[in-house]
């Protein structure tokens, strides 16, 4: 049964273990992905998630519902992860989240387009994408390719595409949870999707590029 936000907060405050278990399970993959933006290993990220829940419990009585519970928990996670990263003597790759647009990254290899000095079709396709074989889209192997491509992304792109496209969050919630601008959120999402699309094309129609 899906609890409303208020019911969930009340259940947690009342010590309802099932309610706690449900949110811990449901949010765990996303929490882990976001933690991995800041700390270098999976083990450390697991640690950060654990510490986050302890902090959440410690502060739950003071939660005022000004944001959603989920956003609030992710804000605590981001702070916990940053603190941990500092303690580990790691420079926080925060600029990676804030200034995503600064370093350009092409969605498609420039070699697949005609150069700008081609008078007829500057920037037109040389090697246009071909139709994907529909019967293979539903295969579990194809899903594995997507999962591996997402896994291989830089941590900030991986976190954003996981929250948006895998978990189905809205752009506003991702922005609030990660405390990033709309533009940066979109740049990270764009790069992530572009790279994953490329992996899908490489797998399904390798002769294209």
């Amino acid at each position: 049964m899906q609890l409303s936000e208020e019911q969930l907060v009340a259940a947690l405050r009342a010590g309802d273990e099932d309610a706690f278990r449900t949110v811990v399970r449901e949010w765990h993959p996303s929490l882990l992905r976001v933690a991995q933006i800041f700390v270098p290993t999976r083990a450390l990220a697991e640690d950060v998630v654990g510490e986050t829940w302890l902090r959440v419990l410690g502060a739950l009585d003071r939660f005022e519902g000004r944001s959603s519970l989920r956003t609030w928990v992710f804000r605590i996670l981001v702070n916990t992860a940053k603190t941990r990263a500092q303690r580990e003597g790691r420079t926080i790759p925060f600029s990676a989240l804030q200034d995503a647009a600064r370093v350009p990254e092409a969605a498609v290899e420039p070699e697949r387009f005609l150069p700008g000095d081609d008078l007829a079709h500057p920037g037109g396709w040389i090697a246009p994408p071909r139709a994907l074989p529909e019967e293979r889209l539903v295969a579990s192997e194809t899903r594995d390719v997507i999962a591996r491509a997402i896994f291989a992304l830089p941590a900030n792109q991986r976190a954003v595409i996981s929250l948006r496209d895998v978990e189905g969050w809205s752009s506003e919630e991702v922005r609030n949870a990660l405390d990033i601008s709309e533009v940066n959120q979109r740049v990270l999402l764009h790069r992530a999707r572009s790279r994953v699309r490329r992996a899908l094309e490489d797998y399904l129609v390798p002769e294209t590029a």
């Binding site: 010590g15 811990v24 396709w125 246009p128 071909r130 595409i161 496209d165 979109r186 999707r193 699309r197």
Partner: protein
């Protein structure tokens, strides 16, 4: 700024997310759709991106391990007892 007639394929592929997110202004959106209407390569590209998004929605991310879950539940019980 994009010229309605001058939007190239190479430029279009960089605007797909803005387009799908509804973040293009009216002029750019029209240029985008005008280009798509006459370009099979870009139409297929946008289709592939839609498929990518759809497939991403079908994967499962890593689950919580049982020991980690048990640890958190124990912390929850302790917290409730003492709060």
């Amino acid at each position: 700024m994009i010229d309605v007639e001058g939007l190239s394929c190479q430029e279009l592929v960089e605007l797909v997310t803005d387009y799908l997110e509804g973040a293009l202004d009216e002029r750019d959106r029209q240029a985008f759709e005008h280009h798509l209407a006459g370009c099979d390569g870009c139409t297929e590209y946008v289709e592939q991106l839609r498929v990518t998004i759809e497939l991403a929605g079908a994967i499962r991310l890593d689950d919580l391990s049982e020991t980690a879950e048990e640890r958190l539940l124990q912390a929850f019980r302790d917290w409730h007892r003492t709060s």
